[in-house]
Structures are given as structure tokens and as C-alpha cells.
């Protein structure tokens, strides 16, 4: 039985919850897995710190909350700093490199940066940076089937924005693939 805990952090308004929703929907509706999404639901979720938690599992999720996430998507430095110490050993941290300044991590934690907001701006709408992060997450972690995630995006975003969102997804995905192969090469050379 494999179980993966994912934490997505950022500011209210960045689409943090939607990003978690899409991971959960992709897993449970289009990828034959179980996924439970919970979210920070405090009054503080408006405009400041905000987080979504997803547990993805091969069997029914029993304990609904995330305790030691093995994957983090960080879209704000505050969120990153708050949660980085609760990460599991050998966790993967994905971050928007213009918004998060990564610090020292314990050995085994892998860290991948992407200029997600900048990419989103280049695509024309800053608001799709969460989808860039989602594409990046898909490529780097390979936790979910790529098509499943694309399908979740396509069926969930507002009508008329599908193309833009899928482009944003691809942008993040391609960047993730390149970064991964670069890192692999670096390891080989070392």
C-alpha cells in the first residue's frame, strides 16, 4: 500500500486550493487512486498564508490530514518556511524561485525551483502560475499519470481558459523534465 502526502502552500488568491483540488481530482477520478484534499480553513486564508493538503493512496485514505508530507509545492516564502521542517526524510520540495528563497535542508531532501509566476506572466496571465507549478510537479514527481492531470485541468478551469491553462501546464511540465535530466546528468558527472 503506497501513500503520498502532499502540501501546497502560498498566499490566498494564488490558486493554492485549486492546485490541490486538481491533484486530488486527477488521482481519484482519472488515475484510479484514492485522494483526500483538506485545506487550511481559517480566516487567515484570505490574502495571507494558505495551504492545501492532499493524501494520495492506492487504498482508501483513513487519516485525512497530512502530517509528514513527502512533496511540497511552495508558492510563497512564508509557506515554505512554516512547513519545511515538517517534511518527511527524502522529501521533494518544488518552489517558485522568484517567491521562495530556499534554505538549508537535511540531507536527502531534493529541491527543485521554477520561475512559475514569470512563466505565467509570459503566457499572459499571472493567475495560471499554480497550473505551471502543477505541470512542474507532474514532471518531477511522476506521481500521477500526465494525461490524468491534464484531464483534471481541462474539466475544472473556467470555460474559455482551457487552452491557456493547458499551455501553462505544459510549460511547467517541460521545464520539470529538463531540470530533472540536467540534475541526473550532474549526478552522473559527479
Amino acid at each position: 500500500m503506497s501513500k503520498t502526502e502532499i502540501k501546497i502552500t502560498g498566499f490566498g488568491g494564488q490558486g493554492v486550493i485549486l492546485c490541490g483540488y486538481l491533484i486530488g481530482k486527477a488521482a481519484s477520478i482519472y488515475d484510479n487512486k484514492h485522494a483526500t484534499l483538506t485545506q487550511s480553513f481559517g480566516p487567515e486564508a484570505r490574502g495571507s498564508a494558505c495551504s492545501a493538503q492532499v493524501v494520495v493512496s492506492d487504498s482508501r485514505v483513513l487519516y485525512p490530514y497530512v502530517t509528514h508530507p513527502s512533496i511540497m509545492l511552495a508558492m510563497s516564502h512564508d509557506g515554505y518556511a512554516t512547513h519545511k521542517n515538517s517534511m518527511a526524510d527524502e522529501a521533494v520540495i518544488l518552489y517558485d524561485q522568484d517567491l521562495v528563497k530556499p534554505e538549508e535542508h537535511k540531507a536527502g531532501v531534493k529541491v527543485y525551483g521554477i520561475p512559475a509566476t514569470r512563466f505565467a506572466e509570459e503566457l499572459g496571465r499571472k493567475i495560471v502560475s499554480n497550473i505551471v507549478m502543477l505541470g512542474f510537479f507532474s514532471a518531477v514527481t511522476e506521481l500521477l499519470d500526465r494525461e490524468a492531470v491534464q484531464k483534471a485541468v481541462e474539466t475544472s478551469v473556467p470555460k474559455g481558459t482551457e487552452e491557456l491553462n493547458l499551455k501553462a501546464f505544459d510549460k511547467g511540465y517541460q521545464y520539470g523534465l529538463e531540470l530533472k535530466s540536467e540534475k541526473a546528468e550532474a549526478v552522473t558527472k559527479a
Binding site: 486530488g24 481519484s28 480553513f41 480566516p43 487519516y63 490530514y65
Partner: protein
């Protein structure tokens, strides 16, 4: 037992398919699938998403949504709508639940089918608006004044929030009683896959109407199952109903004799039909040393603890209370003499636990694993309690 006819849901009301929904949205879809056509409510965290979804969906299914001035008015509005001939519901949380209690009692006394979803948060008072609790269970049982019996269902997931809201409507029509769906913030705001079946797979209990003529009809002459039939609306039935103690005609009669008859039947229609209403799920009861009881989200959270205890050779059985009220007294009493201990896990400081203790009547140990709310139990605490219980 009175045979109850069912009908299939209306395909126009059912959002058939696989969805990724939170418990609140799923509960709203359950109500709509059950044919609910009136919602009166007042927004309160963490229940508001039910009202939001219903307000968005009702225009498409021909329902009426009213945001009322407060929770007292909300409860009254759904009672009125029900007597006006439609299925009706409301939703709320802690403070609003308190305000609804008086008119919930009116619903009991008038014998009005309707559904009240309480998405429980931490209390007392305004407590923890955005975090879970299960501390309104005794309020659901005894919150209004006077003697009466209630029906309360506790979903453990968005899928069950959908299914049990439909079931709540069916029970409310079947027994002519307001029915509680006692969920919590965790289930309400948790998003999971929800499979909504085709309308042809959803059985609904339609309103039980009289076949008497308007001249012969009285509102409180019960059937064999102790449930009186309702008059169809707009067909010339003139009748009187009141929150005062009343006779079969629905007129107030203020004396001990009619009180006994009136209250006795309100209780008996649930007590004598309890076997049909009670819904519990049992697992590994045969040969169990300890039986763990839980309901709602807590019944999921305890599973890792049970698995851990089992690996150490402890024989743990479980009872999940899908209906908490009426309480499965008979079963809990019967098992008490066969096991070493009951462990009750609930997100409060002991509510349903007292029922377990009462029914165990000293024949076995009873252990409470309390929690003040704000998050779910740590499975480790439950494991420790199981170990304690078998000592």
C-alpha cells in the same frame, strides 16, 4: 410492519457521474437528489457551502432558496415549506444549531418531515468556526425541551454525506419527523471522489398522504406503525396543527391524559420502529476482547490504531454508528457480557460514551477516548486506550 412504497429519483435532480466534491457539496447534492425543493437557512461556517451549492443548483431544478434572517426563522421556514407540500432542508453549525432547537421541537410536535444538516465545529459558544468537533451529539438528542425521540445520521466521507442526506429524507418522510445529519467540519470540507448513481438507482420514500376525503381527515390518527398520514396540499383539506399538546384532530387539549397519549406516540413511533431505523456496521465482533465504537470521521481515524493493536494479537472488534440516534441499546447491552471492554472514541469530552456506559451496565469495562475538537484524534492515543482497555 407497514409496507412503504418507494419511487425512483427524478433524473432532472440527479447529477449522475463521478465528482471530486467536498462533504458539504455532496450533502447538498444528496438533498437535491432526494427531491428537496425548499431550503431556508442562515450562513454559518463550516456549513455555508451546502447553502451556496443549493442556491446555485435550485434555479435549475425548480427549488426555492431563501436566506432567512436567522436560524430560528430558517427552521420555521422549512417546517412551513414541508406542510406546504415540498421536501425541505436547512444546514447550520453549533451556534445556529442552538437557535434552531426551539423550532426543531415544533417540528417534532407537528410531526413534520424535513432534514437539518449540522456541520459540527468546536464549541461551546462560537468556539472554533473553522475546525471540527463532534460535541453536538447530545444536543441533537436532548436540545429542545420536552420528551421526544430523534433520528441522527453520521457520515464519514463526502460519499456518505451524499448518501445519508438522501437516507435522512427517506426516514423523515417514513416517520414524519425532522431528521439530523450530524456531520463535522472535517468531513464537510474534505474533498474526495463522490459517485452519484443514476436516478433509477436512487429509491425515495414519497410523502405519505391520506386517502381519506377532506371531510373524514384528521391530522393525527396514526397508521399501524404509529405514523399519521399527511393531507395533500391544495385539495381542499382544512385542518389545524399546533405546538400545544393536541388530540387526533390537531386541536389543543391541555390535560395529562391527552399529554400522555400525544407524547407517548411521538416516542413510540421511533422506539417501536428502532430496529428498522438503527444502522450500524460491525466488524470482527466474534471473539473480540475489546469493541471500539465510533461514528463519522472518527471511525476512519481509529483504523490505524486498530490495525496496530491487532498486529500485537489484541482481538479488536468495531461498531460504526451510522445512526447514532436511536442508539443501538440492545446490541450494546448484549455484547457487554461477551467482551472485556468497550472503547468509545468521539471528538468531545464524552457524550455518546454515557450511552455506552449505561448499556454496558457494569458488565464490561468502558473506556472513553475524548478530544476537545479542533482536529481529529491522534491514532496513537486510540491505540494506547485499546491497550489500557485489555489490561
Amino acid at each position: 410492519m407497514t409496507k412503504i412504497k418507494t419511487v425512483k429519483a427524478d433524473p432532472r435532480d440527479v447529477l449522475t457521474g463521478e465528482h471530486y466534491l467536498d462533504g458539504n457539496h455532496a450533502s447538498a447534492e444528496g438533498g437535491i437528489a432526494a427531491g428537496c425543493k425548499f431550503f431556508g437557512g442562515y450562513p454559518i461556517t463550516p456549513s455555508t457551502e451546502i447553502a451556496e451549492r443549493i442556491s446555485q443548483r435550485f434555479p435549475k431544478v425548480g427549488g426555492i432558496f431563501i436566506q432567512m434572517e436567522d436560524e430560528m426563522a430558517s427552521m420555521n421556514a422549512i417546517l412551513g415549506a414541508s406542510w406546504g407540500g415540498v421536501k425541505s432542508m436547512t444546514c447550520t453549525s453549533g451556534p445556529g444549531f442552538s437557535l434552531m432547537m426551539e423550532n426543531f421541537g415544533l417540528g417534532i410536535m407537528l410531526e413534520t418531515p424535513c432534514v437539518l444538516v449540522n456541520v459540527q465545529r468546536g464549541g461551546p459558544s462560537t468556539g472554533l468556526p473553522t475546525l471540527p468537533g463532534q460535541a453536538d451529539m447530545m444536543q441533537a438528542r436532548w436540545g429542545s425541551h420536552g420528551d421526544y425521540e430523534v433520528i441522527a445520521l453520521c457520515p464519514d466521507s463526502p460519499q456518505e454525506s451524499f448518501e445519508l442526506t438522501i437516507h435522512a429524507f427517506n426516514l423523515s418522510e417514513r416517520y414524519r419527523i425532522p431528521v439530523f445529519v450530524m456531520t463535522d467540519e472535517c468531513v464537510g470540507h474534505m474533498t474526495e471522489k463522490v459517485v452519484i448513481p443514476g436516478a433509477e438507482e436512487i429509491d425515495l420514500v414519497p410523502r405519505r398522504y391520506t386517502d381519506k376525503s377532506p371531510e373524514e381527515y384528521w391530522p393525527y390518527i396514526p397508521e399501524k406503525d404509529l405514523v399519521p398520514l399527511m393531507p395533500p396540499v391544495g385539495k381542499g383539506y382544512k385542518f389545524h396543527i399546533t405546538g400545544l399538546t393536541h388530540d387526533y384532530r390537531g386541536y389543543p387539549v391541555i390535560n395529562a391524559e391527552v399529554q400522555e397519549k400525544c407524547v407517548r406516540r411521538l416516542m413510540d413511533k421511533i422506539i417501536k420502529n428502532a430496529k428498522d431505523i438503527i444502522w450500524i456496521e460491525e466488524k470482527d465482533i466474534e471473539g473480540a476482547e475489546v469493541v471500539l465504537l465510533s461514528y463519522g470521521i472518527t471511525s476512519r481515524v481509529v483504523q490505524p490504531a486498530i490495525e496496530k493493536a491487532k498486529k500485537e494479537g489484541i482481538k479488536v472488534g468495531q461498531i460504526r454508528l451510522v445512526t447514532v440516534w436511536p442508539f443501538p441499546e440492545e446490541r450494546v447491552r448484549e455484547l457487554a457480557s461477551k467482551i472485556g471492554a468497550y472503547v468509545m472514541v468521539e471528538m468531545n469530552y464524552g457524550q455518546v460514551y454515557y450511552e455506552v456506559e449505561r448499556c454496558a451496565a457494569g458488565k464490561c469495562k468502558t473506556v472513553l477516548v475524548p478530544h476537545a475538537g479542533g482536529t481529529v484524534h491522534n491514532p496513537e492515543d486510540v491505540y494506547v486506550a485499546i491497550k489500557e482497555a485489555v489490561k
